[in-house]
Symmetry: C2
Subunit: 303 residues, 2 copies
């Protein structure tokens, strides 16, 4: 456990030895079931993840949690509640929890998530839950880095939330209508059913909706069964390998982008021709599209 934590820190610092270790681990990973958990803020994702951890531990399965954190390290007090809630698993050696911040970096979130998943996987974790910050690009991206995507919704969040739902509707495999004891839960379930009707099945899996009450734990058993059933469905149809590969490819593509972005920053700061581009932009002699065209010719091979 301590070794894994140390390795993850070294990876964050970009130490070459850590990269080599990760490479070795990667060759032997690929067994864990990676579940991405997403949904709008306030839907109860954290509590539900907590319950799923609890249940898996009761069944003797080991668990890793990767919590993708929306706040900056500076002002990050708001998610302390989650951190504290998860503390009750802190002394359980079968549970490993890691938080990753989404901000303050050049990007590379999927790659960090992927690294963490690789280490947890190689540690022998049976189940790895990636809890996303909620919505938007990050949520969609991270959810795409999983075998199974669990979308958590809850009733009574107003019209604006409808828009968010629309954004994350297609990405789910399993849907939890959480806070199912609330008045509008039936309505939410019905409209979700209707909305999902129009979405084609993926990898031969028909999307399922499970009603849960994360606070009391009601429905969590059934949710866990559905997550496992999705895993089995993937394994039978050959989609398990395909999704594992898509996870690696997503990390690869993101690392490419981070590498390119780093190079662009470097060029803008120190390369003379690039500085001329910026000056042209500044005095409106050149518009952003024209400047980008020239920049790309300087940046990419074979242009």
């Amino acid at each position: 456990m301590a070794a894994a934590a140390a390795l993850m820190r070294s990876l964050d610092d970009g130490e070459p030895e850590a990269r080599a270790a990760l490479r070795a681990l990667y060759a032997h990973a690929g067994r864990a079931h990676v579940v991405g958990v997403t949904g709008p803020p306030g839907s109860g994702k954290s509590t539900l993840v907590d319950r799923l951890v609890e249940l898996a531990r009761k069944e003797g399965r080991s668990v890793g949690v990767v919590a993708v954190d929306p706040t900056s390290p500076v002002s990050g007090g708001a998610v302390l509640g989650d951190r504290i809630r998860m503390q009750r698993h802190a002394t359980d050696k079968g549970v490993f929890i890691r938080s990753l911040a989404t901000r303050g970096s050049l990007g590379g979130l999927s790659a960090s998530v992927f690294d963490t998943v690789t280490v947890l996987d190689a540690m022998g974790k049976d189940l790895i839950l990636i809890e996303t910050a909620g919505v938007g690009q990050d949520g969609v991206k991270v959810a795409g880095a999983a075998h199974t995507v669990l979308v958590v919704l809850s009733p009574g969040m107003g019209d604006d939330i409808q828009a968010i739902k629309a954004g994350i509707l297609e990405i789910g495999d399993v849907y939890a209508v959480n806070k199912a004891d609330m008045a509008d839960a039936e309505t939410l379930e019905r409209s979700l059913h209707l909305a999902l009707d129009g979405v084609p099945s993926r990898d031969g899996w028909q999307r399922v909706i499970v009603k849960t009450e994360a606070r009391s734990g009601k429905g969590v058993d059934e949710l866990a069964v559905m997550l496992r059933r999705h895993r089995e469905s993937l394994a039978q149809g050959g989609a398990w390998e395909r999704r594992s590969q898509a996870m690696a490819k997503a990390a690869f593509e993101e690392l490419l982008e981070v590498g390119v972005r780093t190079r662009i920053k470097k060029n803008l700061a120190s390369d003379k021709a690039w500085k001329t581009l910026l000056e042209g932009l500044a005095c409106r002699r050149m518009d952003p599209r024209a400047a980008a065209q020239r920049g790309l010719r300087r940046l990419l091979r074979g242009t």
Copy 2:
């Protein structure tokens, strides 16, 4: 008006003539006050934007609105309400409204926003409001493409919203505590004051908080005054030019990234060496970091 709309459509389609027209417009733009409006879903951004438009029109100023839309064109019914609400300006020639979708593209949102702003600016609009989808990377990015950033918050949105607030706290110049007639408005204002106390002033401007009630229109006058005061403060301190340039630079950098991403997709689809990389990833012979390192050498000049 019709010509501007046609030009924007041609830009979306990537027509070279449209690009040339934009280049010509860009050289003569730079007069409009661009205000980015962001904040969590449900805080009342759209209604407040609507009020600001109304007020500016009363004062005889012309207005452009760029609404950045979180939903896909397919399932985008949820924001129809906003669209309808804005319809009441539809017959007013002094108001031009354009929606941009955040999803379903290779990126390039900031660039599209920038193009639209350039056209509206060259059309002679005095005020351009960019209304973002809410939170996350897109919100921060688009808000950064403005002279003035207005952050809209409202009370009673629960703990999860706190986390989002933390994420958008530093980017604002003017803050609206909307729905100020609600019970917790005082509390929100106080905690916002406390939170902003720790944030250093930017471009010599001390961040301000204005209480508004977008539904009734209360406080919107004062908000408009503060937005204009920020503009004057920027102009006096020389920061106006600096922010205008930052907007162009953001569009430029994003266009570079889009160009690179397009190239990567092309390589992955058709280049033999890149396909070998993907195969190595798929059979775990190579981990994503190693593959990305090789990819970057093939992609970038001078590596």
